[in-house]
Amino acid sequence: MAGHTPTATRRFIDPYLGGALLGLVLFLAFFVTGGGLGASAALSRVSVGVLDVAAPAHVDRVGYLAELAGGQRSPWAHSSVYMLVGTLVGGLASGLLNRRVRFETLRGPKVSVRARWAFALVGGALMGYGARLARGCTSGQALSGGAVLSVGSWAFMLAIFAAGYAVAWTFRKLWN
């Protein structure tokens, strides 16, 4: 690892322990609120919220957007947004405790920083679009729906892994 800054980061916890803890959080979310976890709905609300400042008339005209932020309706006052803030704070807290908070770009060994950003942007756009089409992301559909044995969520989960493995070879230079 020559050329890298000396790291004092702690090791990640056992993936199964992480999974068990994540399962516990997911269960508590269901037990207390009746709903699971999620991230993409909040992203949708942030996106609409920004648009609502820039072009409120447009938001009022497009049905899908008006449902979130039409007229006087605020896209921000929603459980998913509170959860998003919590997720950011939680990630930061664990990152600080484990000394992993650092401005850096993590990437495959053969990819430039700029290229990684560009691919992250494009991948993010695909993810965002796909998550709304599937009515949920990996957390809101796969994790939450999977835990309550929803057929659609399991089909969705299989689709993600199938497509990921199908294109992995094409994009192997990105990561290997």
């Binding site: 999974g19 037990f31 997720t87 664990s94 990152g95």
Partner: protein, 434 residues
């Protein structure tokens, strides 16, 4: 019984609650290494199976806990949000996201953790995701038919397989454990090709074995103990139990008549009696349903998803029959459901038919001479115009064989009643992605 009714806790505590759950979510994701894109992407090259291991562990742990809580009466599943199945857009979205995962190196939840720990690639990803969801909002009207296709509603693996929840849970846990064994084998085989720079996790072999055993054991226990039936679910629901004890779910026929006049409401009447009784006499626009058919998905779903101004009345020959149906529906999350007090016999006592059509002997049910369906005014007492009517009476046929027709005029009093129907909104938290 859990879950909390969030409408009663106030806006700020609810917001804090969701924030706290999010905190746990973000904290655990970061601890497990989900803020590191290399660890995530390595999943697709069989080098580091953390994503699969963590995700499936989380799913089965949560599933076992959820169904254990329901099995032992701590959690009311009818008030738990189950992502409705929209099969085709779900699969299409999943395929797009699979590509996005490999190209972008994150999924939405993990990208947030990457942002929180200062990862610039995570920020680029979130920026892209914001564009993506925005783009979807702008274009969804073009693909509306597809977006709404494959709609199966609340459809679970047990529904699909036609098995009780317990065995399915055991199957899912067994499948996950097998998957983990496979993942370990794959990782060991690709050990030398371990992803450059991606930090490894600390392995806890003892915890793994013990955890797997506990999980399998609890799943088996839940399967043996089973999920509660309608009577048990009702017994565990203090609020509903009180309502039943106070007879708040039993509605006077006069209230049903009054509500049928209300244009702002959609009144639905479900008749539990057998087909012959139904043909002899039933309330206007009533539908007949067998108790067995009542809990089938195709029948249940429209009731569960009914508009909030829908009131459902159940009627049997007597009260217990309708009450048992009420118990099934209400504990499956069908709100605004009531039982017509005293059943059809009581209804006919209040709004009787001419004695040449039907009579009631003491201690017995009404007995009809021929099928009247919903043709008699008693089937729709709310229609004042129908009170004057002609009815053929078969007990005194004319010589040519055609039934003798007598004209009746009936004027029922406006019976006083205590209002029991209170419209209730069904509130379900839709989860973070709703």
């Amino acid at each position: 019984m859990a879950p909390l009714d969030l409408s009663t806790v106030g806006a700020l505590p609810a917001a804090l609650l969701f924030g706290l759950i999010g905190f746990g979510f973000g904290f655990v994701l970061e601890m497990t290494g989900f803020g590191d894109t290399r660890k995530l992407a390595a999943q697709f090259y069989f080098k580091d199976m953390t994503v699969l291991k963590t995700m499936f562990t989380a799913i089965v742990v949560a599933a076992v806990l959820i169904f254990a809580a329901s099995s032992f009466g701590l959690l009311d599943l009818s008030r738990v949000w189950v992502n409705p199945t929209h099969l085709w857009p779900g699969i299409a979205g999943g395929l797009i996201m699979g590509v996005g995962f490999v190209v972008g190196g994150f999924c939405p939840g993990t990208s947030l953790v990457a942002v929180a720990t200062g990862k610039l690639d995570g920020m680029a990803f979130v920026a892209g995701a914001l564009v993506g969801v925005g783009l979807f909002g702008e274009t969804v009207s073009q693909i509306q038919p597809f977006f709404l296709s494959g709609d199966l509603g609340r459809f679970t693996l047990p529904d699909w397989l036609g098995l009780p929840t317990g065995p399915v849970l055991v199957l899912v846990v067994a499948m996950a454990l097998l998957l983990f064994v496979g993942a370990e084998v794959l990782e060991r085989r690709n050990r030398n090709a371990a992803v450059a720079d991606a930090p490894k996790a600390r392995a806890l072999p003892r915890f793994r074995r013990g955890g797997a055993a506990v999980l399998a054991l609890v799943a088996l226990l839940v399967a043996i103990h089973g999920q509660p039936d309608a009577a048990t679910r009702l017994a565990r629901n203090a609020k509903l139990g009180r309502l039943v004890a106070e007879r708040g779910i039993f509605v006077d026929p006069a209230e049903v008549v009054a509500l049928r006049k209300d244009l702002a409401l959609h009144v639905e009447i479900l008749d539990l009696r057998d087909e012959s009784a139904f043909n002899l006499f039933h309330l206007a626009r009533a539908g007949r349903v067998d108790e067995r058919q009542l809990v089938e998905r195709t029948f249940l779903r429209p009731l569960q998803e009914a508009e909030p101004n829908t009131v459902i009345f159940l009627v049997g020959q007597d009260e217990p029959q309708a009450f048992s149906a009420w118990r099934e529906l209400r504990t499956r999350g069908v709100v605004n459901t009531y039982v017509i007090e005293g059943g059809m016999d009581h209804w006919l006592d209040r709004y009787p038919v001419p004695s040449c059509v039907a009579t009631r002997a003491a201690g017995k049910s009404w007995s009809f001479r021929y099928a009247t369906g919903e043709s008699l005014p008693s089937a729709a007492p709310e229609l004042a115009a129908s009170r004057r009517f002609k009815v053929p009476c078969s007990d005194a046929p004319a010589r040519d064989g055609s039934p003798k027709t007598t004209e009746h005029e009936i004027r029922w009093p406006d019976y006083p009643f205590t209002k029991h129907v209170k419209l209730q909104l069904k509130t379900l938290v839709k989860g973070g992605c709703g």
